[in-house]
Amino acid sequence: MDPDKSVDAAVRVQVYRFFVDQGRPPVPAEIAETLHMDQAPVEDSLRRLAAEHVLVLAPGTPYIWMANPLSAIPTPFSVEAAGRTWFGNCIWDALGVVAMLGGTGTVRTWCPDCHDRLEVSVADGRPSVAEGVVHFAVPAAHWWDNIGFN
């Protein structure tokens, strides 16, 4: 494997392991410590991962904004799963957090139209809600045009 690819794979796994374990993404220094690397190559790796849309960094920084399906910042899509509260970047990601963490959890959000609270619980891979729709306004080919908005 290309050495960069090998480093990037290790960095990606460490980002997710830390995030799931600690409830927040690691900063580059924390990744560097765990992987016994210098900080500069960790930041280079994070930038490569961001360029490939594997992670999203806060603009102009090496700090993680999104490790999909997880958001580092609060969003209207909260998830209770695996004993902790998380934030998803959208309803797809919020359900993805539940799926990623074992298939049991609760997503809470608000209807973007009427602002009523909405809740979807999933137990062992089965959602509780029979009704309701999710609407996508932006076609799939353009999702990464503005991932923060979409």
């Binding site: 797809w92 359900l95 309701g132 076609p139 799939a140």
Partner: protein, 52 residues
């Protein structure tokens, strides 16, 4: 305009998309692979198209 999914469909899509995200063997899907996921779930047409 746009596309709509039922909650059940959105859960299934989320499950297929993210269940293995913590695996060291995970890699990002190619546009072809992503489109194949959409197609397998009946999500077809121009809205879900990622390839030419």
């Amino acid at each position: 305009m746009g596309a709509s999914l039922t909650i059940q469909q959105q859960w299934e899509l989320a499950r297929v998309w993210y269940a293995d995200r913590l695996s060291p063997d995970w890699r990002r899907r190619t546009p072809e692979e992503a489109e194949a996921v959409f197609t397998s779930m009946g999500l077809t047409g121009e809205f879900w198209q990622l390839t030419d």
